[in-house]
Amino acid sequence: MKNFFDLFKRHPKPNPAPDPAMQALLGMLSMTEEQELSCDDVFALLDQFAELIQRGEDASQLMPMVQKHLNMCPDCREEYETLLQMMRTSSKDENQHS
């Protein structure tokens, strides 16, 4: 399979975008911290973090390292978003039944 970025090399005109690989790398570096939580650390805190969000509290202020990990890690972010979706669905169902 050809590398996606080779396409840019072979067809540099008429309007190639700035290098997406470089943008992605620099984006990651700009968010890099000396100390970061691991995926396991974040998983342990994810339910608390999601409940803060659901209550409308400033979770990124209260748990900044979790927020930073979620900004960096696509897997954890996807799990967080799915968890939030489950909580919203669940709470909507409860409200309908009450």
Binding site: N15, D19, S30, C39, P74, E79
Partner: protein, 211 residues
């Protein structure tokens, strides 16, 4: 489902008997109800695969909940904790299915056929900035080859550029997601420090490449 507080959930689930059976049945029913709508970005509601997946995930979740019950610290609602476990199980399965035909080598091979990051100069840049970009790109390529291992370059390319899940990359590399995140964090830190040492502020590079 009868309302239970955290203590009641734990009490019901700790000991075999009718209370535990009822609690498990309630959790199972809740998962069957809540999971499908949370997974619509992966599978559409009419897809028979969704129903099978949800049932499998719900069963696996209950087993894991019973196994991990003593690790629940009561810092969230019990059901949120259960949902979190279900999400991990479901997305692990969905990622595996979605990425099963992708090879890590193919996803991360650069134009030289080697593993790593491959950069392209911006064809729209004017002559001066084009020359500056070319020099900077060469400089960055050298830093990348000097600072990172093949594995680190491959991981950054696969996850950061190609959008592969860490879990899938880790599996293909014979490691786990937690260790892969650490490997990538080490790589990012090395690059960040080296750029600082060389007087290349990331903010300025972002401006240069994000016109």
């Amino acid at each position: 489902m009868p309302e239970r507080d955290n203590q009641t959930w734990i009490k019901n689930l700790q000991t075999r008997g009718a209370d535990r059976d009822a609690a498990l049945a309630d959790l199972y029913a809740t998962l069957l109800q809540v999971l499908p709508r949370a997974l619509t970005r992966w599978l559409s509601t009419g897809d028979p695969a969704l129903e099978t997946l949800v049932e499998d995930v719900a069963q696996e979740t209950l087993l894991r909940v019973l196994d991990k019950l003593d690790t629940f610290e009561g810092r969230s609602q019990f059901t949120t904790w259960v949902y979190k476990i279900a999400v991990r199980i479901a997305l692990t399965e969905l990622r595996r299915e979605r990425w099963k035909d992708f090879s890590l080598d193919e996803m991360t091979e650069n134009s030289d056929g080697a593993a790593g990051l491959d950069f392209v100069q911006d064809g729209e840049a004017g002559p001066e900035s084009a020359a500056e970009q070319r020099d900077t790109l060469q400089h960055l390529q050298r830093i990348l080859s000097e600072e990172l291992t093949d594995k680190q370059r491959q991981a950054l390319m696969a996850v950061g550029v190609q959008g592969m899940p860490l879990e899938e990359v880790a599996w293909r590399m014979g490691t786990n997601r937690n260790a892969l995140y650490k490997l990538m964090h080490d790589a990012r830190l090395r690059l960040k420090h080296r750029l600082e040492q060389e007087g290349l502020p990331i903010e300025e590079l972002l401006v240069m490449f994000n016109r």
